[in-house]
């Protein structure tokens, strides 16, 4: 386990060191045209997007930007990212040349992420809409009527001013009381960033959130909001996991084939964001301000700590994520251990079909990535059932853990000499009592070290549950990164939390190991 954790830690550091080195956090200084980065780029400043015909584009997975970049710049190299923060970090660390983003989002980001500039602030325009399932036309019509209503009575202008014209970070989200009873609907968002959806002070805010909460109040809907990765929003809607999706989503032909969109609620303008040092100062439409960075190491850490945990009470996200991770790990372990014991018993049974069923289960589950299993259960098996994603995660990880544990148990039990069973039976114990009194205590000692390793993998594996909308520890760090664009602190912190969590849980298993060591037990007995 120690080797595994160390490996994980090394990998993370390996990924992050170059990032830190490239000065991701260094503010770009005025007149940095002569910087090495600019020189290596050919020494020529970019003046428009056409200078980047063969450049590296960073775009959001499943957005119109992807299609647009491929169509207009066929020679470019397009890389897909699943979150705004990854997109910006790739730009800051020089892994991409240009990022295509919504203009308002880009402006918000430029405030926190230093060293960026907007190369082109009107790449193209797209209408934004709220997504509905094709079979819920009624709900869509109700929303369209509501939209027409707020456009007519000035509410829309008020909201647009609040989130899009003024500084969205200073916007104060009005307190809207969404009904708790009545017709139930679920809204899925992916918390990319302002102005559409963001977590601030541990609350979901933004234009889309305000708009849909107002809609819920007007139509007396008991609306629940769930958080799902952006690329998974459309599949989640189609499979019935939610009834509406909204997060600055452009109305594209591609999407309109699968789902219905409301009328346009806002026009979304795409901007091309690049490193400020890559373009001539005169051509910079807008640049991010030079943040005041502390110079000492302690000062930097303190600032990171403040920015990533204290501001907007972000520590609550981490705490909630840790709780979700612990709960999932705990129940998956229990479920998996029970399933594993059952599968192991079936594998050792005399009935051929029982053995085959167990062997089939073990082979199938071990041959499938957990993330695929997770999505199969969520989007296929329980497609039309309104089920808590945490429950789905426990089921998926429990099933997966069970398959591994069954084999661990089996080798542990088969490793015990047959003579032990025979001696127990010959003495007059029944088969079951022989197993409980003689075999199990010995097998436990064989099994524990491997079981411990498998358990730790399970805890770490739960970091993929963001795919089905569980806000676990990893997802919490993603959300924080989407606000602070600081790759280093949230990731290292989360890595450390995982390390210590698995370490403490490992200690608990070590305790059981010591409890079952007969020689240590004798020492106590003799001493007593």
């Amino acid at each position: 386990m120690r080797v595994q954790s160390l490996g994980t830690l090394l990998c993370i550091v390996g990924v992050l060191l170059p990032a830190a080195h490239c000065g991701g956090q260094q503010p770009a200084k005025e007149g940095s045209e002569a910087s090495p980065a600019a020189k290596s780029g050919g020494g020529k400043h970019w003046t428009s997007l056409s200078d980047l015909a063969t450049g590296r584009f960073a775009v959001f997975t499943g957005t119109v930007h992807d299609a647009w970049a491929k169509k207009h710049y066929p020679k470019s190299q397009v890389t897909l990212f699943d979150s705004t923060s990854s997109l910006i970090i790739s730009l800051q660390t020089g892994k991409s040349d240009v990022a295509l983003l919504d203009l308002i989002t880009a402006r918000v980001i430029m405030k926190t992420a230093p060293g960026l500039a907007i190369l082109d602030d009107k790449v193209f325009d797209m209408p934004l809409g709220v997504g509905f399932r094709k079979d819920s036309k009624q709900l869509r019509d109700r929303f369209n009527r509501f939209l027409a209503g707020i456009r007519a009575d000035g509410t829309w202008d008020e909201m647009h001013n609040r989130w899009c014209m003024n500084d969205p970070e200073r916007a104060v989200m009005p307190d809207i009381k969404v009904p708790t009873t009545g017709e139930e609907v679920t809204l899925a968002v992916s918390v990319e960033d302002l102005p559409y959806v963001a977590y601030i002070e541990d609350k979901l805010v933004g234009f889309d959130v305000e708009m849909l909460q107002r809609f819920a109040v007007k139509e007396k809907l008991a609306m629940k909001i769930v958080v799902i990765d952006f690329p998974a929003l459309v599949p989640a809607l189609m499979s019935g996991k939610c009834d509406m999706i909204s997060d600055g989503m452009a109305i594209s032909e591609e999407r309109a084939k699968s789902i219905d969109f409301s009328d346009t609620y806002m026009t979304f303008r795409t901007a091309a964001v690049v490193l400020a040092s890559k373009i001539a100062p005169s051509r910079r439409a807008e640049t991010s301000g030079a943040a005041t960075e502390p110079t000492t190491f302690v000062g930097k850490v303190a600032q990171s700590f403040h920015r990533n945990l204290i501001v907007e009470r972000r520590w609550l996200l981490i705490l909630r994520g840790l709780w979700a991770t612990v709960v999932m790990s705990f129940f998956s372990t229990i479920l998996g251990t029970l399933l594993g014991a059952l599968a192991c018993a079936m594998r050792l049974s005399r009935s051929r079909w029982m053995r085959n069923v167990a062997a089939g289960y073990i082979a199938a589950l071990r041959g499938m990535p957990v993330v695929v299993l997770l999505m199969l259960i969520f989007y296929v098996a329980f497609a039309s059932v309104n089920i808590d994603p945490v429950l789905v995660a426990v089921l998926a990880f429990g099933l997966n853990f069970g398959a591994y544990v069954a084999e661990i148990f089996r080798t542990g039990i088969e490793g015990i000499d047959r003579g032990q069973t025979e001696a127990g039976i010959a003495m007059g114990f029944t088969k079951a009592r022989t197993f409980l009194n003689i075999i199990l205590p010995q097998a436990t000692r064989n099994i524990l070290p491997v079981y411990r390793g498998e358990f730790i993998s399970l805890v770490k594996n739960t970091s993929i549950v963001g795919y089905i909308g569980v806000e676990d520890l990893t997802r919490a760090s993603d959300i924080i990164r989407s606000r602070t664009f600081d790759p280093f602190f949230p990731l290292v912190m989360v890595a450390a939390i995982y390390f210590f969590a698995t370490w403490f849980l490992g200690l608990a298993l070590d305790y059981i190991g010591r409890k079952t060591d007969p020689k240590l037990r004798r020492k106590k007995e003799v001493a007593a």
Partner: protein, 361 residues
């Protein structure tokens, strides 16, 4: 106490036990001897149903234990078993090995069980090892603990399955001494063993097992002193043998001579005797092959370690009659040679075949 009727046991197509019949009474010490692979251990393991018999009956105190609904675990509590590989519970101390049965199966209170366990350890001379774990004991100590563990259940009979086969020669005697002590105290026992001297001393009755049955049984003095049947004699006399089958007249005599030479060399038979054995083999084969009818001869060479004597046995098909008398050979030189080099010649008719046993001088 135990009555076994027509007991059979097969593993797949291998019939290990064919038809075993036996009676064991209270207070008897039965040794079960015989060559390897003749089902001695299987017989013992069938008695407490560690191996499920495929046929026959085992009746214990009037109760057929193979009947449906028989309480087998309860029955096993009354029969102890000592294994070749000890099989002490590896996760328990010696003391716990001796108390787990009485406490969990007989419902004895722990302090009482501990007290009697100490008594038993005194009997087998291992009181100071009460808190040791099995892997901290020597083989002989392990087996003595295993015997004490059996006794802790206060059994009516103990089955010993080759209790000394896995032991160093230096440790055999300490285990045998414990078993002798139990025999003296009148414990009923059935012992599968290869320790012949021990079996002769300790047992009241001996089962010689061969060919999947109890081939011969009798009091210890008879089986060891004067066994009735040939295979028993061979076994008791530690007879080694080498056999050939001749199916037609064109046999390879030089190959047979070579094999006899090798066999004799292996058992350190004097070279003069080897030459005689080869000579008589040649003459006996000539005589038998010349018999009327198809050639079907089995010739075997036997060497008894105990008596340092060589014997040739020839079994052949054909009309009844001593082949040496009905011999159809042009001259009597070969027959004279056979007679002059042998001490004793016995003719018998067994299973429709003629059999000649020729003891070399």
């Amino acid at each position: 106490m135990i009555s076994v009727e027509h007991l059979a046991k097969s593993f797949g197509s291998v019939h290990v036990l064919k038809d075993v019949n036996a009676e064991i009474s209270k207070g008897e010490v039965i040794s079960i001897i015989g060559p390897s692979g003749t089902g001695k251990s299987t017989f013992l393991r069938c008695l407490n149903l560690l191996d499920q018999p495929t046929g026959g009956h085992i009746v214990i105190d009037g109760q057929d234990i193979l009947a449906r609904g028989a309480d087998v675990p309860a029955l096993r509590r009354r029969m102890g078993m000592v294994f070749q590989s000890f099989n002490l519970f590896a996760h328990l101390t010696v003391m716990e090995n001796l108390t787990i049965g009485p406490v969990k199966l007989l419902g004895r209170p722990l302090p009482e069980a501990k007290k009697s366990a100490m008594e038993l350890l005194r009997t087998v001379g291992l009181t100071e090892k009460a808190h040791a774990f099995p892997d901290e004991l020597s083989g002989g100590q392990k087996q003595r603990v295993a015997i004490a563990r059996c006794l802790s259940m206060e059994p009516e009979i103990i089955l010993f399955d080759e209790p000394t086969s896995a032991l160093d020669p230096t440790m055999v005697s300490e285990v045998l001494a414990v078993i002798r002590k139990l025999a003296k105290q009148g414990m009923t026992m059935a012992i599968v063993t290869h320790e012949m001297d021990f079996a002769r001393d300790v047992s009241s009755r001996v089962f010689y097992m061969d060919e999947g049955i109890i081939y011969e049984e009798g009091p210890s003095e008879v089986i060891f002193g004067n066994p009735v049947r040939e295979k028993t004699r061979d076994f008791i006399g530690k007879v080694r043998s080498l056999g050939f089958h001749i199916g037609n007249g064109n046999y390879d005599l030089y190959e047979i001579h070579g094999k006899i030479a090798g066999f004799c060399e292996k058992h350190i038979v004097p070279s003069k005797t080897t030459t005689v054995a080869q000579l008589l083999t040649e003459e006996l084969l000539t005589v038998h092959v010349a018999q009327p009818g198809p050639v079907d001869v089995d010739l075997s060479v036997h060497y008894s370690e105990k008596q340092a004597a060589v014997e040739l046995r020839v079994v052949s098909s054909g009309p009844e009659g001593n082949p040496l008398i009905t011999a159809n050979v042009p001259d009597t030189l070969g027959l004279d040679l056979i007679r002059s080099f042998s001490k004793d010649i016995i003719y018998t008719r067994e299973g429709g075949r003629n059999k000649l046993s020729v003891q070399l001088a």
